[in-house]
Amino acid sequence: MPVMVNSTERHEHLAKILWVGAFRELFEEFIKRYEETSPDHNCDFRFQKSFKHTAWPFEILVVHISPETYLPEALTFLKDQTGSARPLIFVQDRDPSELLKVVNSRAAKSVQFDLSDLCSSLGEALESNHVLREKELLRRRVTAQNRQLEDLTRNLEEIVESRSAAFFEKSQKAKDSLKEVQRLLKFIKEVALAESFDDSLSVLKTVSRVFHGVMPPILFLRNRAGFFRVFYFRGQQILEKEVSVSDFQALLSETTGLPTEKLRYCLSQLFSRPVGPIRYFVQGEEDGGKDVSHQSFLVFENSLPEEARSQFDNFINKRKNLFFTAIEAIALRDSSRTLARQWSTTFGAIPDPVAIVSRDLKIQLSNKVPKGDQCYKVLFNRKDPCPSCPIGNYSRYKEAQPLMESEQTFTVNQGQKIWQVNSFPIPSTDQESSYFINQYSDVTLQTALQERVVQSEKVAAIGMLAGNLAHELNNPLTGIGSLAELLLEDVQEGSSIHSDLIEVRNGANRCQGIIKNLLEFSTLDVSEVQTVEINDTVKKTLLFLKTALRPHRVEILLSDSPLYFRAQPQLVQQVIFNLVNNGCQAMEEDGKISIQTEKVGSMIQIRVTDSGPGVPAAIRESIFQPFFTTKPVGAGTGLGLSMSRQIIEALGGRLTLPSSDSSGSQFLVELPCLESP
């Protein structure tokens, strides 16, 4: 009831005034007087003669005590008044002391003996009544408003409470899903960090343990070759089995029933043990994909109560694809590691150095040498690129040159060695980032062998030439010698013609000898081992060395007696030829070369000494190695000494370079001497 206290209302309200008394006329006079004096205050006057209780809700009570009033009744009536306003008592013509008791005890508002005073008192009473009434109204309003407030407050509280509850519930849900997401993230992280199948399976086992009654997972990993790799736990260990997809499908078809039951049967066959209730999860869509032979899948044996099953399913379904992805990543990583290892091993096993170089010739990768520096520096010890390098040359030109488009081969001479480099460009659209693969082959031996073959062929050709020459010469020689012989019979002995003819015949014979020697020396067919005499061999050999020996002083010191040994004559001739020829080549003009033969103990010793610079100590043994030469590349194959040594050693002898005090070189050939021819 929205009631406001304002001044207009005051006047609208009719205060209820009850006059209890004997005389009505007095009552009406009172009213008249009152209305005159207080026009503002409107009142509702009522008259009651008796002092009986009334139901009328008066606000102010005026009690008229007249001489006719029966006092006890009035007093009783007053006593019964419980209204808040104290009654006004108008005493007319009676002794007030009778009432004082009552007045005091009843605490009447006022006692008046005059109507005018009564009016004023009434006015006051009305005022105070009004105030009281207003207070009461206010109070009621306040109370009502209080109640409203209380209601509102309660509503608000309820709202707050219900909203709090809702909020709390939401927050709780958010917390729960955050926790779930955190768990999932943790799972992802752990599974992504797993380095092996074992590790990732262990992670899966740990997270699925939150559910009681769930056994460790069994993983069926489908690989490309039509096999399942089956990983399963035995205690803390993880074991692996293999089963082909076709065998697996065969097992599945051995039994009938729901997929779960069929799978359970399969597992029991695979592991040769009874298998409990299972829940299985196939890689792929969340709920679908129940076909277990085309994808990888997980199986959990479990004793989950029915209520927990869907929760578990949910849990695993959220995680399964992450898990399978991680597993596949591991498998890929393993196979790529294997491939990388295979490549690295293969690359490292290539016997030739191989290097990938950038355009500035820096080594990016190699199987033999460290990367970083330039190839010509690291491999050949050079300060600048090899002259024939197709890559290096491009950086020397200012203008842009078209870069190498196809494989090129070039040769590098590095000291004693010859390298053949095959250079392959690695195609690239950006010229700056061009790379090349270089394969370096040491072709020193090959080149030397090729030269040797060429030399051999030359020698063979010369041999053939010599042979042909010899034969060509034999014919006319026959004529010369035989005719001279015949002429000798015709002329007189002692005449000058006779002696001239003898010279002609001798000359022809000498030619024969030379030709025979030449044929013997250059024959391609090595004859059988024969008994040979050394001095004879030396002399024959020297015939071929006349040109080489001409600029020098030659000293021949042959043994007094013939010395015999077993050998193929041409081979020994070749050795002696080689040694003497070397000696001559080592000397400047007017050197001295000596050839000496003697028997020492049971050996024939042949010494070839020259007055050249001698052989440096560092290479005294190396000179007998095949292909060793101090001549520049291509100018000699250096086979002479190594071959000579081989020939002599095959005959049971030795070829050495004994060190001596004097300068120059002395080569010593020793051969087993025959006691008798």
Binding site: E472, T478, S482, E489
Partner: protein, 122 residues
Amino acid sequence: MTVLIVDDEPLVRRALEKAFTRRQHEVVTAHDGDVGLVAWQGGQYDIVVLDVLMPGLTGPEILDAMAEKAEGSLNVLVSAYTGDYEQAPFHHQSVDSFFSKPFEDILALVDQCEKLWKEKFS
């Protein structure tokens, strides 16, 4: 005796002819294998001296061509070539002797031929 000399080298023919003539033999010469064969087929000879390598037919080829008729004479091969690979011709069934050029002593060669002829036909 009648001697047929087949050799492509004039000096060799001259020397052999002179040597045989000195020993009172009748000499006919031919300068290559084909001419030699014709000569041999057209005549009767006691001694036939054949060079191995010649233009036309070789010595052994001439012997093959003559077949049994070669048995009627002493057949001697001469050659400027020595060495193993030349040995094959010498084992020809009709070859009676072999001399390598240059001849050490040409007159001794003639003596040797006479001797061998006597051994073959007496």
